[in-house]
């Protein structure tokens, strides 16, 4: 789950990482109120989960209430690369002497934590990596040893961070590492990490991605789900407890298993179609789950055909077929179903589907994944 900048800053503050004083606003009046608390001059920042806000006019300096009114008015409701701005973060403007970059992620190849630190901050790190890879210091950290202040200092020195900022940067790195590990982040990034003229080091931006698997030990994450940007289909799927990702195509997909679902998307694409979604119904493809899955797909007005791709392992094909037939009685589908049922008891399953009495135009079966994909794509045309 990706956090907005303001949420990331609030999350940082839990781990004592210094951030600018500020507040969140959804209206112009609110923006003026929080600006007064933050003290002028302030920066009004669009809260969207996409890069390039500044260039799009989503970040503006304001010296008084009138300017806050003007900028907040322009920015709220703005569309930045397809993202609607619903909130602005208004914070005290910082004087900047230098800009750095710092992040922690899991290096999956090394199976260790990775610190990336650079004295060249404020620009996208991918750009730095491409233009001057030596400007980025990479330090692997063994998860059971953790990051010591001394190692953090060494990394800062190696990254050619100014002498006067070394202690401040090392201190923030240790705190950011704690936020990354104890806070169960997939990514904890500060860009830019700034040095102020008074010698203080401070996080001017926050990019935080949380590991959804750790939600059980973070009750404080609940407030973030409320602001998560899901489309209507994804919201419905979440309520039904389904693994669903909305896409733009016309063939609705239901498969059991994440790998098979991904593979189904691929095959639909290979035969000239496009998938409307990713949906993994999991191991227990019973009537209740199948009904929920069909309801979610049925709510997508772009769907022209639905492909159900089930491989029976322990889930038996006859049980899946019964589930589909029962679900068909609960949901009035507005697109035809094409079903591929294979594996354990697939033959019995196909018998059940065939004798359920649905017309071919409403429900048909195909013996292989490829043939089913062909049929579904044809129907979606």
């Amino acid at each position: 789950m990706d956090l907005f900048e303001y949420q990331g800053k609030q999350y940082f503050a839990r781990y004592n990482i210094p951030v600018s004083a500020g507040g969140i606003a959804t209206t112009i009046d609110e923006a003026v109120r929080v600006a007064a608390d933050a003290r002028y001059p302030v920066v009004v920042k669009a809260q969207v989960q996409v890069g390039g806000r500044g260039k799009a006019g989503g970040i503006k300096l304001a010296n008084d209430a009138d300017e806050v009114r003007l900028h907040a008015g322009n920015i709220l409701g703005m569309n930045i690369k397809g993202h609607l701005v619903k909130r602005v973060w208004v914070e005290h403007a910082s004087d900047i002497s230098e800009e750095y970059y710092a992040s922690f992620t899991l290096d999956r190849a090394a199976k260790q934590h990775l610190l990336m630190l650079s004295a060249q901050g404020g620009v996208e790190i991918e750009v730095v990596a491409a233009q001057d890879p030596t400007a980025i210091v990479r330090l692997h950290i063994n998860p059971i040893d953790g990051l010591s202040t001394e190692s953090a200092r060494q990394a800062a020195i190696e990254a050619k961070i100014s002498d006067k900022a070394i202690d401040g940067v090392a201190d923030i790195l240790v705190k950011l590492y704690e936020c990354f590990t104890k806070g169960d982040c997939d990514l904890a990034e500060i860009n830019p990490l700034i040095l102020k003229p008074n010698g203080e080091v401070h996080a001017l931006d926050a990019k935080v991605s949380l590991d959804g698997n750790a939600a059980f030990r973070h009750p404080e994450w609940e407030e973030y789900s409320a602001t998560e940007e899901l489309d209507a289909r994804e919201k419905l799927a979440r309520e039904k407890g389904l693994q669903y990702i909305g896409l733009d195509g016309t063939v609705g997909i239901i498969a059991n298993g994440a790998g098979l679902a991904m593979s189904t998307l691929d095959v639909v694409n290979q035969v000239g179609g496009s998938a409307a979604n990713f949906l993994d119904i999991g191991g227990g493809a019973n009537a209740e789950l199948m009904t929920a899955a069909l309801e979610v797909i049925n709510s997508d007005s772009k769907v022209r055909s639905i492909l159900i791709n089930i491989f029976g392992g322990i889930t038996r094909g006859d049980e899946v077929a019964k589930g589909i037939v029962e679900a068909m009685h609960h949901v009035k589908l507005r697109a035809p179903l094409v079903i591929r049922l294979d594996g354990t008891n697939a033959e019995e399953g196909r018998q059940i589907l065939a004798s359920a009495g649905f017309p071919e135009s409403q429900l048909s079966t195909r013996p292989t994944m490829l043939e089913a994909a062909h049929a579904a794509v044809e129907l979606a045309k």
């Binding site: 169960d184 590991d211 990702i245 994440a258 790998g259 991904m262 639909v268 694409n269």
Partner: protein
């Protein structure tokens, strides 16, 4: 021969008295696996259809001589269960649990490496392992796996995805091709056992004549496998990579299946494997057909 597990492997089930553990543990025993004990704290002295239950792994190991464990407990309890098995001297741990936080997985991996280097972890979030006719630990339906033949050729399978593993087993069974061992390494960001670990074992296993690999988007495990294949694998291979059409930045069901920062794409992985001499199928059926062709040339 088979890799990691065979007919002599004695297995305990951590969580045997729970729904998943009981269902799959008993299925594994019915398949012929030597399921010798269960472990559930507080339920020592009970039994599950004749399988004795112990309160901790050490007691179960002492009483039965088990060397492998099947962990079917919820995500909160799984990290401690894995380390308990390692402490008790278990050599091969299969953890099917889905939903363990990545930070916990990274710590477990590092702890096993430092303190229990003799213990191999398969998973988490994996379907398990089956050496057809000998041993089945996990959730694979044993009947879809073709028994290996004495004269061969037999295929070893290694996969990151559960249902695609079954699909692969099924494709080979349709063609009458025997399987030496089928390993599901799981779809999480820090798997205990990698493609490379399995490829090394298959390369060394005289009963395995060809290898089928099923990967997916995210991470760089397939690229590392390609480098290893180039340097060390002489047996013929086919592969399939899922997720060609997956949008960037989205976790596709599996916690580890995500394209981020332009890295971990299916295209990149296919290119690496193709360059290593692996035959690439564009869907699981095609990968199965390619393997059938390979087997024909060996026969």
């Amino acid at each position: 021969m088979a890799i990691f597990v065979n007919q002599h492997t004695k297995v305990i089930v951590q969580g045997l008295t729970g729904g998943q553990g009981r269902f799959h543990g008993l299925r594994n025993r019915d398949y012929g696996t030597q399921v010798v004990a269960g472990v559930t704290p507080g339920k020592e002295g009970q039994d599950v259809e004749g399988i004795p239950v112990f309160g901790n792994v050490a007691d179960a190991v002492l009483a039965t001589g088990a060397t492998a464990s099947f962990i079917a407990v919820p995500p909160k309890a799984a990290p401690a269960a894995i380390l308990e098995a390692a402490r008790a001297g278990i050599k091969f741990v299969v953890c099917i649990t889905e939903g363990i936080p990545a930070q916990d997985e990274a710590r477990i991996f590092a702890t096993l490496l430092r303190d229990y280097p003799m213990t191999r972890l398969l998973g988490p979030n994996c379907p398990g392992i089956i050496s057809p006719g000998k041993c089945n630990i996990g959730i694979t339906a044993g009947e879809i796996a073709q028994l290996p033949s004495e004269q061969g050729p037999n295929v070893g399978i290694v996969s990151r995805s559960g249902t695609l593993t079954y699909q692969a087993l099924y494709e080979l069974k349709q063609q009458g091709i025997g399987v030496s061992t089928c390993v599901g390494i799981g779809g999480d960001p820090v798997p205990g056992t990698s493609f490379v670990d399995c490829l090394a074992q298959f390369q060394a296993d005289p009963e395995t004549h060809a290898i089928m690999m099923i990967g997916e988007i995210g991470g760089s495990a397939e690229e590392e496998a390609a480098a290893f294949i180039t340097a060390h694998v002489t047996k013929p291979m086919s592969a399939y990579i899922a997720g060609v059409t997956a949008p960037a930045g989205k976790k596709m069901g599996h916690a580890g299946a995500i394209v981020s920062g332009g890295k971990g794409t299916a295209q990149g992985k296919m290119e690496s494997l193709r360059a290593a001499g692996v035959k690439i199928g564009l869907n699981p059926t095609e990968a199965g057909a390619l393997m059938a062709d390979i087997v024909q040339t060996i026969r």
